[in-house]
C-alpha cells in the first residue's frame, strides 16, 4: 500500500490497443521487470482533450486496433493476475465509461483487480455522490489538482480523492517539459496543507533529472507520455529498457527483477 513519505516511485502507462492489444501485456511485463509498480491502463478516446500529441496519436492508433472499455477490463484481468504486486489504475475520459454505465463499469473494474481511477474530465462535484460505492468497491478515485486550483476547491478535491492526489505539475497538456522550481515547491506545500495522502506528480516528468528533482518531495512520478514516445519510436522492449535505465539513473529504490 502506497504511503505518504515513502520514497519516490515511478508510475507508468499503457494505452489499451497501442501499439496492439497483443503487445499490451508484454509491454506491461517489461515495465514490471524494469521496476515499475504502478501502471495506468488508459482507455483510448476519440477526443482526449487533456493530452498532447503523443497520447493523442496513441489513442488514435489504439482505437483502430480495437482499444475499448471492454478490452481495458480484459487486459486488467490478465495483468492483475500476472502481477499481483502492481497497482493498476484505470485511466479514461468520462464518455466511454458513461456509455458503458458508470456504476457497472466501476463494479467490473474492481472485479478485474483495478485499484484506482484517473478520469481527467470528471469533476469533484460528480465524483462525490459516487464515493460510497467507490469506497465499498475499494476503488480509489485519484483526483487531479492543478497550479491554478483555488484554495477552497483544493480542499474539496483532497477530501474526495483516495490513494493519492494527482498533482498536475504545470499548465497545459501532457508531453511537454516542466520546471521544478521554487514555485513548484510552494505548490506542493499548499496541497500538503489539505491532505496526508501521497502525491503523484504528472505532466512533464521525462528524464532522470526530473526524477531526481522530485525525490524526497513526492511519492510518485508519472512517466507516461515519455514512455509512450519510447514505445512509438522503438517498440515496447526498448521502452522497457529505457525505463529500467531511467530508474537506475535516478537512483530510485529497486523493485525490479
Amino acid at each position: 500500500m502506497l504511503k505518504s513519505g515513502t520514497s519516490l516511485q515511478v508510475m507508468s502507462h499503457a494505452v489499451v490497443g497501442f501499439p496492439s492489444l497483443d503487445e499490451n501485456l508484454r509491454a506491461i511485463d517489461g515495465l514490471v521487470s524494469a521496476g515499475v509498480r504502478m501502471i495506468e491502463l488508459q482507455v483510448p478516446f476519440s477526443d482526449p482533450v487533456a493530452d498532447g500529441p503523443t497520447l493523442v496519436n496513441a489513442c488514435y492508433l489504439a482505437l483502430k486496433q480495437g482499444g475499448s472499455v471492454a478490452a481495458t477490463l480484459e487486459l486488467a484481468r490478465q495483468a492483475t493476475a500476472r502481477h499481483p504486486q502492481v497497482t493498476f489504475i484505470l485511466m479514461s475520459y468520462l464518455n466511454p465509461l458513461y456509455r458503458y454505465g458508470l456504476e457497472q463499469c466501476f463494479r467490473d473494474a474492481a472485479e478485474a483487480g483495478i485499484q484506482g481511477l484517473i478520469i481527467p474530465d470528471w469533476p469533484v462535484e460528480s465524483v462525490e455522490p459516487m464515493l460510497p460505492l467507490l469506497d465499498e468497491l475499494n476503488l480509489a478515485p485519484v483526483l487531479m489538482v492543478t497550479p491554478n486550483t483555488p484554495e477552497s476547491r483544493l480542499q474539496r478535491i483532497c477530501q474526495a480523492s483516495r490513494m493519492m492526489i494527482y498533482v498536475v505539475a504545470r499548465m497545459g497538456v501532457t508531453g511537454h517539459q516542466t520546471r521544478w522550481d521554487e514555485a513548484f515547491d510552494l505548490y506542493l506545500n499548499r496541497i500538503r496543507q489539505y491532505t496526508d495522502l501521497p502525491l503523484a506528480v504528472g505532466f512533464g516528468v521525462r528524464d532522470a533529472s526530473d526524477l531526481k528533482a522530485l525525490k524526497h518531495k513526492v511519492e510518485v512520478a508519472a512517466v507516461c507520455s515519455r514512455y509512450i514516445e519510447w514505445q512509438a519510436e522503438s517498440g515496447s522492449e526498448t521502452a522497457a529498457k529505457n525505463m529500467a535505465t531511467l530508474i537506475t539513473e535516478a537512483d530510485l529504490p529497486p523493485f525490479g527483477g
Partner: protein, 440 residues
C-alpha cells in the same frame, strides 16, 4: 430568456472539463452572471453591433418565392448582412466586450466554416488582440476564402489534422491550447455548446437576432409569426432566433440539421432524430453526441462545413426532447436546390449552412396556409461557398478563369514560396503520419 439550472438544461449541459480549465470558466461565469443583470451592458453590446456590424439586420419578405412555393408567406431574417457575412459576429463582438473586462490580450477560437474564425480575427484586429484560430485541415480546404481573410487580418490559423480533421478536432485543439494559456487567453467559443457558461452566454448574445425579429414582425404584420426555421449545427443561430419565442407556444420552432448524403454512419450530422445521437459527455459538456457503443465520438458529413458538428447545443437537445423544438433535416441535394431557388426568386446568395434552413423552411411553408407567416433565419451569405457552388453548378467560364489566375499566380516569384495545405505548420499532422507508417 432561457436560464440554466447550475449550467444544466434539463438533463443536458454542465461542465466536464480538466481541472485546469475550471478557474477560467468560473471567472467567466461570474462575470456573465453579473453583466446579464445589467441593462447598460446589453445596451453597450447592441450599440456596438449597430456601429460596427450593421445591426439591426432587415427582415425581408420574399414575395415571388412565397408565390412560387404556395402556402405560408416567407420572411428572411437577414443575418447574412452582418459584417463578416454571418451571425457569428454577434457573439464574437459580445465576447470581445468580456475580453476587455477580463484584461486578457490573446484570444483563441475553433471554427468550422470559418465564419466564426473570421469574426474572431475581425474582433481581435479591432481590439488589438493576438488571435489563434484552430480549423480542421479538411475544413480549410472547403472554406479557403475565409482562411485567406483571417490571415490577412493578422490571425494565426492553425490547421488541425487529427481525426476527421473538421470542427470537433478544432474544438479539441482549442481546449488544449486553453489548458496551457487560460490565465492570459480567452477562448471565444463560437457556438452554444461546450462547458457552462458558454451555451448560455452565446445564446444571450445571439438572442439579439430574435429580439429584433420579434419587433420587426410585429411591426410588419401586427403579430408573431406562425413558425421560425433555423439551421442547427452547434445551434447558435437557432438559439439566437428562437430564444425570445420559447414561451410563445403558438410559434412553431423548427431546427434543420444536415442530412448529408444519407443515414449511414459518418454520412450526416443529424443528432436530434431517434436512432442517431445518444447522450454523452465530451468536449466539456453533456449532450446528444453521434458516437459508437464504446462512447467514441463519430464522424459527420455535410456539404456545409459549419453544420457537421458531432454534438449539439445542450439547450437545443433539451428543447428537442421536451417537444418545444421540431427537428427536421435537409440532405445535400435539397440544400443545393433551396440555394438555387433563393437566388433565382429573390436575388439573395445564401450560405450553404443557411440553405439547410431554407430547404426545411420551404418544405414547411408549402404545408401551411397563405394567411400564415414563416420566418427563416438566413444565418449567413454564400460568398465563402463560391468554390463549392462552382463545383455543384459548373460554369465553364469560371474554370477557365481559375486556370488563367493560377498561371498568373505562378508567374509571380513570391507566390512560389506560399505553403500548400499539406505544408502548413499543422497540429500533429507530421506526427500522426509518421507514426501511422511505423505501425502500419
Amino acid at each position: 430568456m432561457i436560464r440554466s439550472q447550475n449550467g444544466m438544461f434539463g438533463d443536458f449541459g454542465g461542465r466536464f472539463v480538466p481541472e485546469i480549465l475550471l478557474p477560467a470558466l468560473t471567472e467567466l461565469e461570474q462575470m456573465f452572471a453579473q453583466l446579464r443583470e445589467d441593462a447598460d451592458f446589453w445596451q453597450e453590446y447592441v450599440t456596438l453591433t449597430r456601429q460596427f456590424s450593421g445591426r439591426p439586420t432587415p427582415l425581408t419578405p420574399c414575395h415571388r418565392l412565397s408565390d412560387h412555393i404556395g402556402g405560408a408567406r416567407i420572411w428572411l431574417k437577414r443575418e447574412d448582412l452582418n459584417h463578416s457575412g454571418a451571425h457569428k459576429v454577434n457573439n464574437v463582438l459580445g465576447q470581445g466586450l468580456l475580453v476587455k473586462r477580463l484584461g486578457k490580450k490573446r484570444v483563441i477560437a475553433e471554427t468550422g466554416a470559418g465564419q466564426h474564425g473570421l469574426a474572431t480575427a475581425i474582433m481581435a484586429a479591432r481590439l488589438g488582440l493576438e488571435a489563434t484560430i484552430y480549423m480542421g485541415a479538411d475544413d480549410i480546404e472547403r472554406q479557403y476564402s475565409n482562411v485567406f481573410w483571417m490571415r490577412q487580418l493578422g490571425a494565426n490559423v492553425v490547421p488541425v489534422s487529427t481525426g476527421a480533421r473538421t470542427l470537433k478536432e478544432a474544438m479539441d485543439e482549442a481546449l488544449r491550447d486553453w489548458a496551457a494559456s487560460c490565465e492570459t487567453t480567452h477562448y471565444v467559443l463560437g457556438t452554444a455548446c461546450g462547458p457552462a457558461p458558454f451555451p448560455e452566454l452565446v445564446t444571450y448574445f445571439q438572442s439579439v437576432i430574435g429580439i429584433e425579429l420579434q419587433d420587426q414582425i410585429q411591426e410588419a404584420i401586427g403579430r408573431l409569426p406562425d413558425a421560425i426555421v433555423a439551421c442547427v449545427g452547434g445551434g447558435s443561430n437557432a438559439m439566437g432566433a428562437f430564444s425570445p419565442f420559447l414561451d410563445h407556444h403558438d410559434v412553431t420552432l423548427v431546427g434543420v440539421e444536415a442530412g448529408g448524403r444519407g443515414m449511414g454512419d459518418g454520412d450526416h450530422s443529424i443528432r436530434l432524430k431517434p436512432d442517431t445521437a445518444e447522450t454523452g459527455i465530451a468536449q466539456g459538456f453533456k449532450t446528444l453526441f453521434l458516437q459508437n457503443e464504446d462512447g467514441q465520438l463519430g464522424h459527420t458529413h455535410s456539404i456545409a462545413a459549419g453544420l457537421d458538428y458531432v454534438g449539439v447545443s445542450p439547450i437545443i437537445a433539451h428543447l428537442s426532447q421536451s417537444g418545444r423544438l421540431t427537428a427536421d433535416s435537409a440532405n445535400d441535394e435539397e440544400v443545393l436546390e433551396a440555394f438555387k431557388l433563393l437566388m433565382k426568386f429573390e436575388g439573395i446568395i445564401p450560405a450553404l449552412e443557411s440553405s439547410h434552413a431554407l430547404a426545411g423552411g420551404f418544405r414547411k411553408a408549402a404545408t401551411m396556409n397563405n394567411d400564415q407567416h414563416l420566418v427563416i433565419n438566413l444565418s449567413g451569405r454564400g460568398d465563402k461557398d463560391i468554390f463549392n457552388v462552382a463545383r455543384a453548378f459548373p460554369q465553364p467560364e469560371w474554370t477557365a478563369f481559375l486556370q488563367r489566375e493560377l498561371e498568373r499566380h505562378t508567374q509571380e516569384p513570391s507566390a512560389q514560396q506560399e505553403p500548400s495545405a499539406e505544408q502548413e505548420p499543422s497540429v500533429q499532422k507530421s506526427d500522426t503520419a509518421h507514426k501511422e507508417n511505423r505501425h502500419a
